[in-house]
Every structure is written in C-alpha cells, then in structure tokens.
C-alpha cells in the first residue's frame, strides 16, 4: 500500500471518472461489494444517513473499500469535498472525523487539489474520544 502511494500518479480534481481502474490494486469480492455500495451512496450525500454510513465505514477502514485505495475513493471524494469544507465546528469535526481523516489522505496522495479548494485541517484539535457502544 505504501509503495503504491509513492508511485501513484495523482489525478486532477474533477477527473475521478477518468481514473483507470487498472492503475489500482486488484479488488477482492468484498471490496467490489463495498465499491458498488459507496459508488451508489455517493450520489445521495444530501441524505444525512449516507454521510453517517460513510463515516462509520471509514472508522475501521483506511480507504473506502478497505486497506487499499481504489477509484471509488476518487469518486466519493469529489462528492464529499463541498460538504466537508463546511464542517468547521467542533461538533461537525467530531461527527465526521473519519471522513475528514480519509479526505485529507486522499487529497494528499491520490488527487492534485488546487490549494484554494483543499480542506484545511487542524490535526491537533481536541475532540472527545469516541466510546464504543
């Protein structure tokens, strides 16, 4: 995975649909299912529960489809970015912390995001710890 990141040619923001799937690590069956699920979900981010589902999934996974990056990360990132730019209150940061962690990884490893559109994160902001239910 780390070697992948070092060698990956970043895409321009807005070009997710042009990404060549063959340039990513191969999918397992489980990853395929997750990719399909989140490709669909990313068209419904106007529904709050879609955002919650993405955040919950990224709690345990580094990327949307698991521990390797995929085209789905690019597709979902383009849809999430306009929303995430508005998450600035501590409450929103805490609520969406896993999406923000992932989005920051994506914008620094998979995409060339213009400086004025990049998410700016205060990495050390104090958030209440998530307690497992």
């Amino acid at each position: 995975m780390a070697d992948f990141i070092a060698k990956f040619n970043k895409l321009k923001l807005g070009e997710a649909s042009k990404a060549d799937e063959a340039s990513f690590p191969q999918f397992s069956a489980e990853q395929k299912a997750l990719a399909a699920q989140f490709d669909t979900l990313s068209t419904r981010f106007d529904e709050p529960e879609s955002v919650v589902a993405l955040n919950d999934s990224l709690r345990t996974k580094t990327f949307v489809t698991g521990n390797t990056p995929s085209k789905t990360d690019l597709v979902v990132f383009e849809k999430v970015l306009p929303l995430a730019s508005k998450w600035t209150s501590n409450e929103d940061l805490a609520k969406h912390r896993h999406i923000l962690r992932w989005a920051d990884l994506v914008q620094n490893t998979l995409f060339e995001v213009p400086q004025d559109q990049k998410l700016t994160l205060n990495y050390d902001v104090e958030l209440p710890r998530e307690v497992k239910e």
Partner: protein, 202 residues
C-alpha cells in the same frame, strides 16, 4: 565488518520494532541484507540484562538499545525508515510508554495515540515512517494489546494497526520470528536428548 542483528527471544520487552525495521531494510532495493539471529535468552549480552537486541554495524558500532539502533538505521537508510527527526517524539513515546503491561497506565497513552490518529492515517505525514514501525512493533509485543485492538477500544489505533498488519513486513515478520524461535527450541531439546527423537515408553 558487516551487519548482524541478534534478538533475545525471551526478553521482557521483545524487540519487534528493531526486527521490523531491519526487515524493511532487507525487503528494500538497498544493496544490503542484514542477517538476523535469534537467541533463546533474556538478553543478547552478558554485560546488560536488559539488552533485547544487539545490532553490530559495518562501522564497528554495537547497539544494545532499540532507540539507538532505530535511529542509526533511520539515519543510514533515510528513504526506507523515514523522518527520523520528525518521528523522534513518537518513536520514543512508543518505546518508553507502550510496552507497559499495566493497563491503567497504558490506557492514558493509548488515548493520546488515538487522539493523534483522529485526522491522521499514519503517525507522521502520508506514509510509513520510523514512528509507525516503532509503535506498531511495541504494541505487537505487548500481550495486553491483542484484545484491545480486536475490540476496537481505541478505534483510530485499531484502524491504523490493522492497516500496517496487512503489510507483509509487519505481521508476517513476527510470525517468521515465532517459527524460527520454535525451531530453535525444538533443536535444543533434541540435542539435549542426544540428538534422538523423544521415545515414548509403550
């Protein structure tokens, strides 16, 4: 002189960080292969009961302490074990705080690591550094951590830990060591037995 790494398999704090760091070097394109020897002892050196490793370098230095060995390796192989300076605080934190087997004390430091990983995928920057290797190795060596990781008590720590575990240079390196140490123990047992297989009375 050439490199050698010796690891004490019965050390109180088994030196997985150094084992993994050397594995990174050996798996890289660098034109060097550091042989690893395991000894079934609590220490690698009679002069120091707490020496969990002994790294001998081509320059003739000997390191018995993991932090010194890790820093040496990071300086020698800066592209393989990156960010020695930036990683220093967290490398030291891992070695000093996370081997502890008192859960109450450990919990405070795990909370600190978990908070650090709120918005970070790796300990430093966007890829592995010396700090990831050090902290992962320490947590893997800490018997308290298995269930803590599995149960996701610290969600960010678990996600980060599991990401690294999938890389063959982490979990697979530990399994390889366990296998080597088991083989070593078997061969010692059979040589004590005059080289014969254990015979059971009918």
């Amino acid at each position: 002189m050439s490199f050698t790494l010796t690891i004490a398999a019965k050390a109180q704090f088994v030196a997985y960080p150094t084992l993994i760091a050397v594995g990174f070097v050996n798996a890289s394109d660098a034109d060097v292969s550091i042989p690893i020897e395991f000894v079934d002892e609590k220490s690698t050196d009679s002069s120091d009961a707490n020496a969990s490793i002994k790294l001998v370098t081509p320059e003739g230095q000997t390191f018995l302490n993991q932090l010194d060995a890790l820093n040496y390796l990071s300086e020698k192989f800066p592209t393989i074990l990156a960010e020695k300076v930036k990683a220093q605080e967290w490398t030291k934190f891992g070695l000093d705080k996370l081997y502890i087997k008192n859960f109450k004390e450990l919990a405070t430091d795990l909370e600190k690591l978990d908070a650090h990983l709120n918005f970070r995928t790796f300990v430093i920057g966007y890829n592995y550094s010396l700090a990831d290797v050090a902290i992962w190795g320490v947590l893997r060596a800490n018997a308290l951590m298995g269930s803590v990781i599995k149960n996701g008590v610290y969600a960010n720590v678990s996600r980060w830990y599991n990401l690294l575990a999938e890389d063959k240079r982490f979990e697979a390196a530990i399994e390889q060591m366990s296998k080597n140490v088991n083989d070593l123990r078997k061969s010692v047992k059979s040589s004590k037995n005059g080289g014969k297989k254990e015979a059971h009375k009918a």
